[in-house]
Symmetry: C2
Subunit: 567 residues, 2 copies
C-alpha cells in the first residue's frame, strides 16, 4: 500500500515530502509539479498574471506569511483521565493520542477560513484527543462510550473539508475527539465479476487506484482533493470528481456501506438495486459524521479505460458555451470530463499558462472573434470504438453551436495541472490575497441567472475603490437537467478583518445563488459553513426529518454536532 | 388528454372498453391484441402450449370463473357522517364518494392474492370512501383532518400494485379512505432546456407520452403495468421499466417531488444535483404512501429516440447467457432493453408464439446445439450513430461469449407483446391455474445461486405428485454490479386453499432468495406482502430509522399503515 501522506497543518501538500510519486502514478505525467518546487510568488505566477491581478484588484503583492508552526499554542487536552483510560482499554494505548502534533494535524479542514485561522496560529478548534479504532465493532463501542461519557466525535479522514466539516463546534462545549480513520484504510474484498470493491473508509484514492490497477480496474473518482481525501470522506460529503459527468457522482459509486452509530450499526445498500422501501443508503451519504461513522464502503469499479482523449474547444461567449453544453446534455452526448470556463477564467488561465503556446493560442482565438471567449475542456474515456462515436457526435453538435476546436494541448495541460489549484492558493495567501471558491448547481434554465447573481453579489461585497474582485467561474459537471457552477474569487485581502471580509461575501453570494434557484452546494457538503442555509434548501420540515433520524441514532448529539443541522 | 381507463375489478384490462388506442399510440403496432378479443383459454394458449402445461404440471384445464361483480357484497361505509361532511366541505361534495362502484374499484391491487379474493367476491378490504383532492393544499388539509379524526388514508393511483400495496390493513381497524389521485393528473410545467416536466401524481404513462410526443420528447418508463399505473405510483414504489437498463429506474427519472404529510408539506429534490446533506428525496421514493401522499413530480424527459432496434440472440445455456450479460455490463455495453430468458421461459415463449416462424426458429436453434438454450432480447434506442457503435461493440462481445444472433423478429415480437402477460393471467386463472410472479436482484456473483435457490424453493412448495411447477425466469434489468431476476410460476391450483398454497410458496421462495443474497424486491416494492422480511434486508436499526421518520411525519399512523413497516 502506498504511503498516505498527511497534509501540512497550515496549507495544502504533504508535510515535508513531495507528492510527485502519487500523482505520477495516475497519468504517468511529467513536468506537472513546477508549482511545488518554487517557493515564491514570482515562481507561482507568471509576470503577466501578476501584473493582471495587481491592476484588476488594486492589490499590492506583499508578504503575509503564516506564523511558524512551532509557535502555535494549543490548549491542554480536556479529555477526562478515566475516559482516556477507557478508550485506551478499548482501542489500545497506542491508538489514543493526546500529543500536540497529533492534535494539531487533526484540527479543522482546508477552507479559506481554516487556513486563515491556522496561519494566524489559532487552533482553538483542536480536538482534545485523536482516537483510531481498527474496525466497525471498535468504532461502535467507542461511539457508545462517547455517548455515555459526553464526548463529541468528529470523524477525520484526509482533513480536506472546505466547508468547516471538521469544526468540532459543540453548543454544550463538551470535550471532543478526532476519530482518525487511518487504521481502516485497506482493500477488504474484491468481487471482480460484480465490479465491486470493499474498502475501509480511511483509504485514499491513490492507494485504491494502485491496488485496482494491478487487476486492470479503476474507481475513477478524481476530485481536486484526490491526493489527500479519503473514500469515507467522499461518501460522507457527497463528493463529485472531475470525471463525474461520465462515471457519476460518488453517491452513484457507492453500492453499500456500514455506518456505526452510538445506538448500533447499519448495513446499507443492496447492489445492484432494491425497491424495498425508502433509500437508507442515501441517508448515510452526505451525513457528514452527524449520524455516525462510515466504517466500510462497497464501491463500484470499472475496467481501466483503454483510451483517454482530452481536448479543448472555444466558444465565442458564455451564453453560447452554456447552450452548447445543454445541447450535448439533452442528447446524452456529454463527455466524461466537461469543464467550461467563463471569459474571466479563460483569460486568467491563458495568462497563467504563460509561454509561447498560450500566446499563440490567444492570438488565434482573437483572430477568430473569440478574444472574449470561453474555453471548454472535454475528456473522453473508455472503449476506443465508443469514444470515437461519442466524440464525433459531440463534435458535430459543438460545431453546430459555433464552437471551434483548439486541440489536445489545452486538454492535456488541464489534465496535468488538475490538482494544482490548492498548492497555488497557499502562495497567493502568502502575498496578501483573499482566495476562496464556492460552488452550486442549477437547471440549464436557471444557470445563467445564478451565474449573474453570484458575480454581482461577490462584486458588491468584495469590491474596493470601484475595483471588483476577480471572479472566475466554470461549469465542472454536466447533467441532462443542468450543471454545476464552480466559482473562484480573488480579492485584495482585508489584513485587519480577513475572516469577516469573507464571511460577509460568502453570505451575500449564498443568499443570491439560492434566490436565483441554485443549490446550496453541488459537491462540497454543508459542514459548519452552510448550516444557516440548509433550511432554505430542504425546508423546516425537511430539517425536522433529519433531526428525527439523528435523534434515533445519536440521541445525545455527540456525532459531529457542529455540522449539517442548524442550531 | 387521453382517457385514463380504470381497471376491471377482478382482473386486468380496462372495464369494458378496449385499450387498443392507448397501446397503439406507443409503437404504432398492429395485431398485438389477439389475447383481448378471444374470451376462452383455447384462444389464449396455442394447443401445443396447453398440452405442454397439462403434461408438465399435471393440470387438467377446468373452468374456475370469478363470481359475478353484481353478486359481490360490500359492507356499509364506516366513515362517520360528520367526518364525511368535513371532507365534503374541504373537497366539494362531488369529491367524496361512498357508493358501491367507487369503493369496489379502489379495493386492493392486482396481485394473485388480490385477484383470488376479488374473484371469490371477497372485498372485505374495500375502503369506506373514496376522496379526491385536487391539489397539494387540499391533500395536506385532508391528511391533517384524517389524522385528527383517526381515518386511515390509502393513496390510490392506478390500482396496479402486485404486493398488497393497497391492502388498507390497520392494526387499530379504523375507517379507511382511498385517496384517489385522478384529479391531479395533468402536465403542470415543461422546461424543455432543462429536460424537466412537472406532472400530477395521478397521470399515467400513455397520457404523459402523448403530451410529450407533441414536443418531440419522451419519458420512456415502460413497466408492464404502463397502461394503467400512475406516475405517482412509480415513485412511491421505486418502479423499474422495460428500458430501465438504458434510461435508469424510475428513481433516477425523478428530479423532485412534493410530499404532503399529516404534519406538513415537503418539497424535495434539487436538480441537477445537491450535496446539501442526506438525500431526502430518496426517503419519499419507495415510501408507498406510508409517509404521506406524493402530490407533484418533476421528471427527467429526453428527446424521442431517432432510432430503435430490437433483436434476439441465443445462448447455449443460462450460465453462458449470464456470463455474456455480465461482460457487457462491466464494459458499459448493456443495451437499453435487456431480457434474458432461462431455458424454461425460452421454451415456453417459443411454444406460446405458435405458428411457422416459431417452429422454424426452434428447429434452427436445435440444429445449432441451442435446443435447451436461452433467448436474449435486446433493444437499442437513441441517436443512430451511437446506437450503431454500441450495437457493434456489444455484438462482438456477445459473439465472443458464444451467442448467436437470431434476428429482429424475436425482438419485435417481444416488443409487440410487452404488455400482454397480465391479460393472459386472467385467462389462466379462469382455468384452474396458479399464476404469480416474484422478482429480486443480486450481484453477478450471487445471481446464479439466487436463481437455483428460488427454483428449488418453489419446486419444493408447489410440486405435486412428483411434478414440479413451471418456473420461468428472466433477467429483466442489467447493471454493472448485477441484475434483476423476474420469476413467473405456474402450478395446478389448490382449489380448496388457493391463498394458503401461494402464501406458503411465497414464504419459502422469499426465505431462499434472501439467504442466497438476493434483494427482497427489485421493483415491486414492499407492500403488505413483503413486510415480514423488511427487517432482514435493512436490519432492525434500519426499521427503527424508518419508524422515526414516520413518527415525525405521521404521528398517528394514518398513512397506509398496512404496508412497508412490519407490525
Amino acid at each position: 500500500m502506498p504511503e498516505q501522506p498527511e497534509l501540512t497543518i497550515q496549507g495544502w501538500g504533504p508535510g515535508g515530502s513531495r507528492v510527485a510519486t502519487v500523482r505520477e502514478g495516475l497519468d504517468g505525467d511529467e513536468g506537472s509539479l513546477e508549482l511545488d518546487t518554487d517557493p515564491d510568488l514570482a515562481g507561482a505566477l507568471p509576470r503577466a498574471a501578476r501584473r493582471h491581478l495587481s491592476r484588476e484588484l488594486g492589490w499590492t503583492p506583499r508578504s503575509t506569511p503564516p506564523v511558524r508552526v512551532s509557535e502555535i499554542r494549543i490548549a491542554p487536552s480536556r479529555l477526562p483521565g478515566d475516559v482516556r483510560a477507557a478508550m485506551a482499554a478499548l482501542l489500545g494505548e497506542e491508538n489514543v493520542a493526546t500529543d500536540r502534533e497529533s492534535r494539531l494535524r487533526r484540527t479543522g479542514g482546508k477552507s479559506y477560513l481554516d487556513l486563515l485561522r491556522r496561519r494566524e496560529g489559532d487552533v482553538s478548534d483542536a480536538p482534545d484527543a485523536v482516537v483510531s479504532p481498527g474496525d466497525t465493532d471498535e468504532t461502535a463501542a467507542l461511539l457508545a462510550l462517547c455517548a455515555e461519557r459526553g464526548v463529541v466525535v468528529v470523524p477525520f479522514g484526509g482533513g480536506t473539508s472546505v466547508v468547516g466539516g471538521l469544526s468540532g463546534i459543540d453548543p454544550d462545549d463538551r470535550p471532543a475527539v478526532a476519530l482518525d480513520l487511518g487504521r481502516m484504510a485497506s482493500v477488504r474484498d474484491l468481487d471482480v465479476p460484480s465490479s465491486l470493491v470493499t474498502v475501509g473508509p480511511g483509504m485514499r484514492g491513490p492507494a485504491l487506484e494502485e491496488a485496482l490497477a494491478r487487476v486492470g480496474l479503476t474507481l475513477g473518482h478524481l476530485p481536486q482533493s484526490w491526493e489527500f481525501a479519503t473514500l469515507g470522506g467522499y461518501a460522507a460529503t457527497r463528493s463529485a470528481g472531475q470525471a463525474s459527468t461520465g462515471i457519476g457522482r460518488f453517491d452513484e459509486l457507492v453500492a453499500g456501506l456500514t455506518l456505526a452509530t452510538p445506538t448500533g450499526v447499519l448495513e446499507l445498500g443492496h447492489p445492484p438495486a432494491s425497491a424495498a422501501g425508502p433509500d437508507l443508503l442515501g441517508l448515510a451519504l452526505g451525513s457528514e459524521g452527524a449520524l455516525g461513522v462510515i466504517t466500510e464502503l462497497r464501491l463500484r469499479v470499472r475496467p481501466k479505460p483503454r483510451t483517454a482523449t482530452y481536448e479543448g474547444w472555444s466558444f465565442r461567449s458564455w451564453a453560447a458555451g452554456l447552450a452548447g453544453l445543454q445541447r450535448l446534455a439533452r442528447h446524452d452526448l456529454l463527455p466524461d470530463v466537461v469543464r467550461l470556463s467563463d471569459p474571466d477564467e479563460t483569460r486568467a488561465n491563458l495568462l497563467m499558462a504563460g509561454g509561447t503556446g498560450a500566446r499563440v493560442l490567444r492570438g488565434s482565438l482573437r483572430a477568430r472573434g473569440h478574444g472574449q471567449g470561453c474555453l471548454l475542456v472535454v475528456g473522453w474515456e473508455g472503449l476506443p470504438t465508443l469514444v470515437r462515436a461519442r466524440r464525433r457526435a459531440a463534435a458535430s453538435a459543438l460545431r453546430e453551436g459555433g464552437a471551434v476546436r483548439v486541440g489536445r494541448k489545452v486538454g492535456e495541460s488541464w489534465r496535468r495541472h488538475r490538482f494544482d489549484a490548492p498548492y497555488l492558493r497557499d502562495r497567493l495567501l502568502d502575498s496578501g490575497l483573499l482566495v476562496e471558491t464556492l460552488e452550486t448547481a442549477a437547471t440549464w434554465t436557471a444557470l445563467p441567472v445564478v451565474y449573474d447573481a453570484v458575480r454581482s453579489a461577490l462584486a458588491r461585497s468584495l469590491g474596493r475603490d470601484g475595483r471588483p474582485p476577480l471572479v472566475m467561474s466554470h461549469v465542472s459537471h454536466g447533467y441532462p437537467t443542468g450543471a454545476s457552477l464552480y466559482v473562484t474569487v480573488l480579492a485584495d485581502r482585508d489584513d485587519d478583518l480577513p475572516i469577516q471580509q469573507w464571511l460577509a461575501a460568502k453570505r451575500e453570494a449564498t443568499d443570491a445563488l439560492l434566490a436565483a434557484g441554485g443549490t446550496l452546494t453541488h459537491h462540497h457538503a454543508v459542514g459548519a459553513d452552510h448550516r444557516p442555509w440548509l433550511e432554505r434548501e430542504i425546508g423546516p420540515l425537511g430539517v425536522e426529518v433529519l433531526r428525527a433520524v439523528k435523534q434515533r441514532l445519536d440521541p445525545t448529539g455527540i456525532c459531529n454536532p457542529g455540522v449539517l443541522l442548524p442550531d
